[in-house]
């Protein structure tokens, strides 16, 4: 049964714009605290650039560590967003309404964060330009487009540009609402950004087409981005556990798993922070939890495929790597933690309606999933590199340094801070969508029961 409350447009505006026009007491201290962590992260990155990558735990043969793990993690989170928004728009799922904007915004900020990781990892960030920018810089040397390391920035840049444009075009009607309610410099800013929106029939029709058309174009981009990220690894022939044909779909579905979980986490926190109980309702969270069961199980199937096909080859080094991952410390501990947090704790819990409708338990399980998915990437990348060479005396290990830990921690603070700052300038739930939902909402009396229903054009 739906718990929808009938609200008029003015009430929706007041409720959903409260994050912009009212500032709760906790807001600036929280943003300030997160900002401090971000600054610490930048200071650590500056220290690393000044002293060289020797201050990290990276050493031969493990030259990809926390930064690359974190890069793949944030790329994964970014996939939730537009994927969730795009698929729900395309199938016209009624419960998409409160989720789309949060998902799209999370996509943009996590992608920005992800893009910083390889730059920091490079040690000399400015040199990355020589490797990926199609210009010779008077050296006569152009980037090698046959390298997966050039495909990656091309794909991520395409995804980031598309996501920003997607978020912006969907925001225009809401910016017009802000324009009509603001004064001073804010009014000038919103007037410029609203592009002269008036809400004519033509503008709304094209806005709806834009949502569907851009969703349809961005979905193939979304699939390509994480596929290409997976090829950073799968195209490397010399590392055991990486050279797998199933990596692209495995990474894509893993990204969806962690991303949708992150969207649920963000939605629950926003619901609590801004008191949006009438908009982010338990039925929405329940629907997302049901979606997560399917996504998590599909991801688990690909995980099994990847693992079993590795063993099925009966190649010594591959089997030894799996043995290292599953039976030797510290990988054994991380492997068990990863399986429990990414699948075996959350999914059985989501089977119960009470859990799916419990805000606290859903917050707990979705955070668990992302701990698990971060560990998954770490377990895929590091053990393979540690046993990269065939001679035992060239084997190595990896322990992250405090510099890396601070930078990784700062990325989480940065995404949280950016989402909070966004909520101060733009609405995080689309106003037009919420209002349209109210228009299309109905109650039908069937026999002795009144059933909540939604009207939809055929």
């Amino acid at each position: 049964m739906q718990e929808r409350v009938r609200l008029d447009d003015a009430q929706i505006n007041r409720d959903l714009l409260n994050s912009i026009f009212e500032t709760p007491k906790w807001y600036w201290p929280l943003v300030g605290g997160l900002g401090l962590i971000v600054l610490t992260g930048f200071a650590a990155a500056g220290y690393m650039i000044n002293h060289g990558v020797g201050v990290t735990g990276l050493n031969r043969p493990v030259m990809w560590g926390f930064f690359i793990t974190n890069f793949v993690f944030w790329i994964g989170i970014s996939h939730a967003g537009v994927m969730l928004s795009a698929i729900l728009r395309l199938v016209q799922a009624e419960w998409r309404r409160p989720a789309t904007r949060a998902a799209e915004v999370l996509t943009v900020f996590s992608l920005m964060t992800a893009m910083m990781m390889p730059l920091i990892h490079a040690g000399r960030p400015w040199r990355v330009m020589y490797w990926v920018f199609p210009y010779d810089f008077a050296r006569g040397v152009y980037p090698n487009v046959r390298s997966a390391l050039v495909w990656d920035p091309a794909a991520v840049f395409t995804y980031l540009t598309s996501s920003i444009l997607f978020v912006f075009i969907a925001l225009v009607p809401d910016i017009a609402v802000l324009r009509d309610r603001s004064t001073g410099w804010r009014h000038i800013l919103y007037t410029v950004l609203a592009l002269g929106w008036r809400g004519s029939v033509r503008q709304w029709k094209l806005q709806l087409i834009a949502g569907i058309l851009l969703s349809a174009i961005i979905l193939p981009i979304f699939v390509s981005v994480h596929s290409i990220v997976s090829w950073d690894f799968a195209a490397a022939m010399s590392v055991e556990g990486w050279h797998s044909t199933v990596f692209a779909p495995y990474f894509v579905i893993g990204a969806v798993h962690s991303g949708v979980s992150a969207v649920v986490t963000v939605m629950l926190i926003l619901r609590w922070m801004f008191k949006w109980e009438n908009y982010i309702r338990k039925e929405h969270i329940e629907s997302l939890a049901k979606l997560l069961i399917v996504v998590a199980t599909t991801w688990f199937f690909f995980f099994l495929l990847e693992f079993l096909f590795g063993l099925y080859s009966l190649e010594g080094p591959e089997v030894a790597l799996r043995e290292l991952q599953v039976f030797q410390m510290p990988w054994k501990g991380l492997f068990i933690a990863f399986l429990l947090t990414a699948y075996f704790i959350p999914v059985p819990m989501w089977m119960f309606r009470k859990v799916r409708r419990s805000i606290g338990l859903m917050l707990f399980t979705t955070i668990l999933v992302n701990i698990g998915m971060w560990l998954e990437r770490f377990i895929i990348f590091i053990p393979g590199l540690a046993r990269k060479q065939s001679f035992t005396f060239t084997w190595g290990g990896y322990t992250p340094s405090p510099v890396e830990i601070v930078i990784i921690g700062a990325t989480f603070a940065m995404v949280s801070m950016l989402v909070l700052l966004f909520s101060k300038v733009f609405p995080l739930i689309p106003l037009g969508d919420a209002k349209e939902g109210m228009i299309l909402h109905d109650e039908i009396k069937i026999g002795k029961v009144t059933v909540p229903a939604v009207k939809r054009e055929e």
Partner: protein, 175 residues
């Protein structure tokens, strides 16, 4: 004679829909009025004419241009520095396909956005006549007609139970 606009503001969708009939009776053609709302309504809810657009052409043109630019970049940069790596040909088709794919989709997205802005008739310098209450749930009926018919249309809007009638210059008259 120059065309002028007048905006009738209505408190709800039903009243606005009925007012469109009054406008038609008063001699206003279907294409001479527009409906301004704070959220999307089902097509034809106000008896308005369905807008004609060519939005689907934009992504196709963008995709084609994006593909051309991507192929030019991949082929051009490789031919400018023809170094064989891994035994692959200088113009390696699989690698070019990946960059070409991304370029195609990026072009399609950028042109779709441009198309939406163009076809929505956005980026207009003037908003007038407009009423901020439209984004609060009121419905606006915007009539564009020759200046000498403006009074007739204003009367029709009032007969249709408009809460306010707003002229282009910002003059507001209470019903």
């Amino acid at each position: 004679m120059a065309n002028k606009s007048v905006l009738g503001v209505f408190s709800d969708a039903d009243t606005a829909a009925n007012a469109t009939d009054v406008l038609l009776e008063a001699g206003c053609a279907q294409e001479d009025f527009d409906v301004l709302t704070g959220c999307p309504y089902p097509e034809g809810a106000f008896g308005e004419k369905e807008p004609v657009h060519h939005i689907y052409v934009f992504p196709l043109v963008g995709a084609l241009m994006g593909l051309c630019v991507a192929l030019l970049l991949t082929a051009g940069t490789q031919l400018a520095y023809p170094m064989i790596t891994g035994g692959k040909p200088i113009l390696a088709f699989p690698a070019m396909t990946i960059i070409g794919y991304e370029g195609t989709l990026l072009g399609a997205v950028i042109f779709t956005i441009l198309g939406i802005i163009f076809e929505s008739r956005l980026l207009r310098p003037r908003l007038d006549p407009y009423d901020p209450r439209i984004t609060d749930g009121y419905i606006g009926l915007l009539v564009t007609c020759p200046e000498n018919k403006l009074d007739v249309m204003e009367q029709a809007l009032r007969r249709g139970s408009a809460v306010d009638v707003i002229h282009e210059k910002g003059r507001k008259s209470q019903t």
